[in-house]
Amino acid sequence: MANDSELNIDRWVESHLAKLDRAGEWRPDVTRARARLDERHAAELLRRRKVTWVLAAVLAGCTGLLAFPAPRAIAQRCVGACESLFLERANTAPGGAPALAPDFSLKDADGAVIRLSDYRGKVVLLNFWATWCPPCRVEIPWFEQFQRTYGSQGFAVIGVSMDEDGWNAVRPYMESNKISYRIVIGDRALAQKYGGVASLPETLLIDRDGRIAARHAGIVGKSDYESEIVRMLEK
């Protein structure tokens, strides 16, 4: 009985679907379709070629632009901003607490070892800089002044030079500019530990617990730094 019912439904559906069959002499035009297919195919090839050329032109344009200092600086700044934004998130531990600043152990100009972890209990201004970087040179006298003013209250500046020539470039610069705070020579590995330093200057303020409290890519106003330092020292 069930089989009969299924058979009936099968026939019923078949008869209804048969209504879709076209009556009359209609026949698809294969020749026209062949021509249309070739036409569509040619149009698609042309479109792909155009897209390739446009992409190549955009790439060449961007590469050409990066050869000029100003666009390159802007691009570096953008990359730096993105990276610092990323790092800000990455450096925030679950629950919103700032992450610990990665420790390092490097020698200063006198050959003495500087360990960041030895500065636990102090507020540290960690400045990535280079002798060839004009905004970095603007900030150095400020940091020098902060070191003199707040050094006795548990504040310290550590400069991390990213000069490729190392001490050959940094030592004469320190002497001619009378930099008294401690400087170390950084490298790509250290920069990576800090999430990558894409542009200079880049400055971190590390609180007494060794946590990154603030991070600034590029030059920031002297008063802004000072108010942050004072606030951190008061905590």
Partner: protein
Amino acid sequence: MNASGEAVGGTRAVDALFDFEATFRDQYERIARVIARVVRDPARAEELAVEVFLKLWRSPKAQGAQAEAWLYRSAVRKGLDELRRRTRRARYEGLLEFVRAIPTPEEVRAAAEDQEKVRFVLAVLKPRHAELLLLRSEGLSYDELATALDLNAASIGNLLSRAQQAFRKEYIKRYGER
């Protein structure tokens, strides 16, 4: 591959065993007819059939021994997509009143209306059900259906039965037993 196939088939390195031109020559008419059963406009069906072959040309994975099954499946899907698109548009435009109108005694018009009723029901069925019914009514065997729709051959009978019941239920709900 012959000379006339060079524009589409011959300019790229596809599976050496796959002859696009021969497949087009052998299958185009049938594929256009499959689509024409689903969409009302034959000219549109021909255009959609060209699109199916263009898609085959773009899809190296579809070329080969399974190309025929792939073409049927794509043709039915193309037709159903077009049917649903038109049905949606007609619904928005309030043009579907004709499916509720009292049939006229004229045979031609009645036949056309019957076709539209079947098409409307196919448009509102689950896509898998509609695909199964259309491919089955094209004469595909259970094995061919399984290959075309990438289904287990053992479950085809059951799925087809459900699709038929769904079609009948939907049709009767809308238009009665006739």
